[in-house]
Symmetry: D3
């Protein structure tokens, strides 16, 4: 259930019933010339459906993420890393104050992962609490899922699939496939690029900070073929993600998040547990 | 139009057509035992409708605000002041980078106003840009509006009206009026309270930091009578707010936000303009 | 008594006798072309007299405040908000370390109020201590006081009264009434201004960061008529403020600042007190 | 002249006449059981008299300093180093904005010197401006001055002279010589102490953070004999300091603070000037 | 050449000859019960040899890194992320001030990579400068290298190889193979672990902050078999790394680090390069 | 012993045997045109030898220090004060976590002393732990040592002796005496300079931030005669320093660093110990 649609006394009851608080993280950034930018709406949908299935509580989706390398594309809004850290920290602090026994993050944007780890590690150190996070858009890009939904040899990537298909399913009238253009991966300094943070020089990985317009055709920002998108594929991907997240939430209910990892090792102990 | 539902090329076109970027600010906090906490949905609705009327672009609503004095009520999520400052600053920075010629804030939660002013003043100093903000829920509580919608002598206040009515209009099935309980304003140290930041001692205003449970019946958090709520009143209030915001946006189109206030006084000038 | 004129063993005795520590906050900023800028001297005088009457201890007056909107007027010194926060926090920390059982603030400059609230709220959260603050220059501008001292229909305001009269009483030779010039309130964007943070657009309040030279005649910085000033009025205002502050300090002696507000609600409790 | 007693138009005129802005720094801390704590009043007096002699402008004295090692003595108020840095930085920023052509610091408390250097170095780097500082209470403790005023072999030190004499001259009724007690310098770890930051171990200087109660008799905090104090000595010391500061201010008028040191070396130059 | 063994005039000459400044980053952390902790010495050796081959200048190796997840093992010293960021930023700032035309990082510890990226991205934004980084210990673990040096099917990993072999080559008398004990990878919550930041739950990757004692036998901290170590393998690995780094430095000399990536896109441009 | 050459189980044993952890601090900065810049290597050598003599553990030498006033000389790398503070704080935190019973600092660069004091004072306040620091290069410049090694009337100073001699002893082939040039001390504003932070104006000390090129011949950066350098003098100085540091470490073993200074005075006590 959405926390924002609950009254405070309903929230009190939910806490008493020991449900998990789910924090969805989104972003708003270029997804090719044909897809809407607000991918926060996708993770919002996935998290809401999963929480509905498991009876957990979902906090409002944070619509801005860390999208620094997309920032030159009009409409992309990126938080600084320290800002996203602070938003997430404050949110967790409040949920813990109210007594939620466990907290999970559903991260809809890969760029947020580093900050999520930082924040989770800090809560592990300071409270001995494990806050797990799951990335539904990452899960749906596992090879076997892609093969099942798109057939063999399909290549997905930013600015194309699977986000295009997801939008076709969720907001069909907002996708403008006729605007899609060139896609692919460019070289930098004459070397192949590897994600948004490295190039390959004579077979060696060399880390270099890249922007999206460096690695994709700058006039589109598309790494993969938007032509692969269909509403059916979007629906299949979405259902897979909802199902995965629900499975995760059910698993998490069986875990004691205050037990079982080094995070709960008392500060005063100077050596690893034998 | 919602920025999150636009592609980046559509955003580029909107910027070229010189529209205003609207940033709505919400919050999630107790609103009595009967009303949903997520008032961000109200300002989101108001801002979206107003921007639709005027053709401006609306950034995703920030769903968390500064709600410190409500923080003991389960479900309330409050950002630290520095966090909200950072989120708003980052958002404005991105919109300016992309070339939006003017930016306006629609603030759905009174507690955010101090931070909004800080941020606006900073952009005024550093860029000579005026970023105005308007508070639709404040506007609808002007005496003449209240008198028209509620009749004479009605008293509105947090944890009651007008938020209850607005929810009855927007999410009728989520309001649980049967849960409403005691309402009113309590004394602290035996003295009348004045908002959430002062008491009156022998006729003198004494500033004291208060929490909602100090000034309202703690078991409800309601300062005004929830029984005044009706969907019709909610609708009337909402329409008034939408209309006001649209009028504001139209007025703002006629203003040069880089001209006409002291904010644009060059730093090196040491004296006021004669 | 002034803490700065006590020896440390006298301070130890005063603490043992359970007096209040009073922290006066001032500022130095334009007050029209005719009045001295250092209004810290006014609150210093008021606080010292009040503390003398009640036997409380007064810390040295902090002579700089948050006067950002006056900053273009030569001689105005403004601290950043974070700076004033730090100064006040450090001062309170020291007084608490030494064992003062209660602390009160006398704030001589309206612009400081937001920071005072922030700091007070933080001490309320972290120590369960209520630090009240009172604004003597605000109290003396209550309508009934103004009517008694100035007669009916007098309008006071920055850059004119009552500060001019107070200086005529305290430092007659430092007031240069012959320099007073135009006074009044200007429009911005063709709209009436409302304080230093808003304009009224078609009846709606729109928050906008303003500077003093935007809202008053820039060549004077005077919002109200300096011609209303007389030493007698200054004396009456000062005596009213001293008497009010003494009453406040006596009242405060009867309060347990660690009891009675939500500030002392233990962090681990997740719900409001029933 | 005191800036706080000037109107803003007088300040504008003073700036136009190219005078120096003097910032006095004080502190409030234990000075033995017999002397008042507020030594800010001493530097305030010295700076005001010197500025009167030379026609320069004196900003309000900052009454709190960095007095960390005295902090256990009731009544001592110490700013964190970052706080004093911020106060001084903000003050200089404002004075420069208004056009003061040169700024000097009169530092009445040795503990502030490190922060003064940090701030001065920063302005040297960022604006190429030299902000000199002078320590009147240090100057008056030069051997030849001490010999002239106290006779041969006199030893001065914190919690005794010369501050006791200065107070006897400035506020005779506030000195309580009958409270003076033991004085001298203690050992720590069985080793002689060297100031408040070191001990001597087998002839070697070992830096160790000490508090005043470590190095002086804790029940007094006096390092030197309070019995040496007389009002005449206080007067002689004060006059020497005023005269020295005036000489310094006159010398400073002849210097171009933007020329002549490495501070003005442009950032882009990578090598020392040949 | 090592910068620390050059005089400042030699540094000036090296800059004039347009060499690259190399910054090596190390760490000190557990590497199993048998290997020394100071792996900074390994990257120091590699970087020095490579720079000697190419004629570039090597700054002193920073011996501490971000080793947070090893922190419970005695002797591990970890910098906070913000600390390492600051050290690296200051180092780059100084080298740029002196005129080095290009800067490269040799990162000897995988945990530092995230901070290196942050810092590099910041310099890309603020100066348009590309600072590449290369990880010699990563390069030597490429499958084909491992197969060549260790034979087929060898598995390397923290707390075992290749660091053990490298130490056997560099400091044979400091390796205590008799102390090596159990090695391998443990489960957390009954699930397989994936690096130090994730577990696999029902086939799904779930991010969780882990410590080394969670994923390896806590009494050793070894993930791979120390018994694979030989001095010959260490020598082969070291030579491979030196050769790779030298190739990288030669390649870098041919690149204009101020040209060719989005980092140099001027801030004022609001759209990607077409 | 060097911590970096120990395995983690050896570190655990060393901690159990209650040795001291020594943290050496170095710097890299101009030392005249003839001497290498990396003086971190000197303190590294001294600390390693001393720790070897006493059986204590030496952490890796931090090779960068606070050398701000040398920063215009190519090759000088200076950390900001806050950066060095953070590095030292993190290092101490880790050593304390692991259980080292006592920590000492060997500071090889005078410019670091202020930051060392700050950090030491903070640990004294927060943990009641005394962290002493010793400056081997300072100790060797005591008058009696200089007289013994250099003969009467020798004057040492930055950019000349004793660093030149130390390098001749440690890295003879890296000293290029033929590059030495003019040496001496310059005037600023026509006044004698006093260290790097003051000038003497008409007999008065005036604090002014200076750079090395202000006080020494800028084309050399040498304050004292490099011609005094010989390898024998370097050896004598080094041995003196090693012996002094060893004596200090032995003395420190007999001290309880948690007892005996005001640092351990509990926060809640408001008065000095009688």
């Amino acid at each position: 259930m959405r926390l924002g649609e609950m009254t405070w006394t309903e929230a009190r009851e939910a806490i008493a019933s020991r449900v998990t608080a789910v924090i969805p993280l989104g972003s708003i950034e270029e997804h090719g010339p044909h897809s809407p930018m607000g991918d926060y709406a996708i993770v919002d949908e996935i998290a809401a459906r999963a929480a509905e299935l498991t009876g957990d509580v979902m906090a409002p989706t944070i619509p801005y993420g860390y999208s620094e390398y997309f920032r030159n594309y009009p409409g992309t809004i990126t938080l600084r890393e320290s800002t996203l850290d602070a938003v997430l920290t404050d949110t967790v602090d409040c949920l813990l104050r109210h007594g939620f026994p466990r907290i999970a993050i559903m991260n809809g944007h890969a760029g947020n992962a580093g900050i999520v780890e930082l924040v989770a590690r800090r809560f592990s150190r300071t409270r001995g609490l494990v806050i797990p996070s799951i990335a539904p858009l990452g899960l749906m890009q596992a090879p076997q899922v892609v093969a099942r939904v798109y057939g063999p040899n399909a290549e997905l990537g930013h600015g194309g699939e699977p986000v295009g298909s997801l939008w076709m399913h969720l907001r069909p009238h907002r996708v403008r496939l006729e605007r899609a253009g060139a896609w692919g991966r460019r070289k930098v300094f004459g070397c192949p690029t590897d994600g948004l943070g490295a190039i390959t020089v004579e077979g060696m990985r060399v880390a270099v900070p890249l922007d999206m317009e460096d690695v994709a055709p700058p006039e589109t920002g598309s790494l993969s073929d938007p032509g692969l998108g269909t509403p059916e594929r979007g629906r299949a991907m979405l259902e897979y993600a909802v199902d995965s997240c629900a499975r995760f939430l059910r698993w998490f209910r069986g875990i004691d998040p205050y037990l079982g990892t080094g995070g709960s090792l008392p500060e005063q102990a100077g050596r690893p547990r034998a």
